[in-house]
Amino acid sequence: MDREKLEMRPDAAAEWPDGIYAALKANGITQVALVPDAGHSRLIKRCLADNKMTVVTLTTEEEGVAMLCGAWLGGVKGVLLMQSSGVGNCINMLSLSHIHRTPLPMIVTMRGDFAEFNPAQIPMGQATQTVLEAMGTIVHRADRPEDVAATVDATLRLAFNTFRPAATLLGQRLIGAKTFGKD
């Protein structure tokens, strides 16, 4: 089995992750909570290289929800980066964003979506948007590179201007280029 059939990640030359990074900077994001996903690898590198950003690798995604609620208590804006499967780990913790009215932006790379190979990714991937919306999250999708930056920017604005959870789902059609061992 080739690794490229298991992993979905953007072509190394794809520049849309830089558009996400620019949106994070433009919106004053300085805490980045994440569980890594191949689809976020270029963005994670950009964030790690930025000494104005505090990047925290979580053991499970719900930690990030609580952490960003704490960041906002301290007047700092953060974002949660994760794969669609991680959304399932966040469900109850998203209550905090509602009860406190805490801005909570999430950027979610999709699996179990367009042309998925792995059956195990399907249940949570297909439920991701429903689950987020069931927990009161405003959800936008981006499936084309040219839509990514504006969609993420909208998600950040909605979260911080209207004090609620908001998510951008980055579709697998966008992410799905095979890597053939390239990073």
């Binding site: 805490q31 719900e62 929800v65 952490m67 007047g75 009215r101």
Partner: protein, 197 residues
């Protein structure tokens, strides 16, 4: 063996002369405890998000390195956040302290036993995660030293405090989380907190 301290006596000793200490309390009895000692805008008693207290403390401590942040939570709540020990230990902010009130029971739900009743050692787990100074206290006499450590910003502090089981009278904080968050932010950041963009 002497009885473990009453939880409110312990929290009272911990919060004595607290100054500008910012306190987050896990849902349930820990939240009632900090409220019984004295409700203040510098308290953030949680009403939900079980397992989130320590990580909320991390987010705040990283956001405001000059503020002293104390998370007070129960053994049941901390057992739900064992992975957070690793996440926090990697960051290790000096201004963060986590105190687990360990009565070895889920006191809010009918006093069912927790894992700590059966030998699970939260301080040992925290040490294993990298919080090398994590320890367990069993008496009120040990609280002043812990309190001094919290105020010194010599963290990350992780302490398990054994307390007597049993429920005390409910002392409820305001129930509207938006008010709890807004007043906490104002106490820390000033009125400008309400205009943050």
């Amino acid at each position: 063996m002497a009885e473990y301290p009453n939880r409110r006596d312990l929290v009272r000793a911990l919060l004595e002369d607290r100054g500008e200490l910012m306190v987050i309390a896990g849902l349930g009895a820990s939240a009632w405890d900090i409220t019984a000692i004295g409700d203040t805008p510098r308290n953030l008693p949680l009403w939900g998000g079980m397992g989130g207290a320590a990580m909320m403390g991390l987010g705040l401590a990283l956001a405001q390195p000059s503020a002293k942040v104390l998370v007070i939570t129960g053994d049941g709540e901390m057992l739900m956040a064992l992975g957070a020990m690793a996440t926090i230990a990697v960051q290790k902010p000096k201004n963060l302290s986590i105190v687990v009130l360990d009565n070895e029971h889920y006191s809010e739900t009918g006093n069912q036993e927790t894992a700590t009743k059966h030998g699970v050692d939260l301080a040992a787990m925290a040490r294993g995660a990298g919080l090398k100074e994590a320890r367990t206290l069993t008496s009120l006499a040990e609280v002043p030293a812990l309190r001094a450590q919290i105020h010194a910003g010599a963290g990350t502090v992780f302490a398990v405090t054994k307390i007597a089981p049993g429920n005390l009278p409910l002392v409820l904080p305001p129930r509207d989380g938006a008010i709890l968050q807004a007043r906490f932010r104002e106490a820390l950041l000033g009125p400008a907190a309400h205009h943050q963009l």
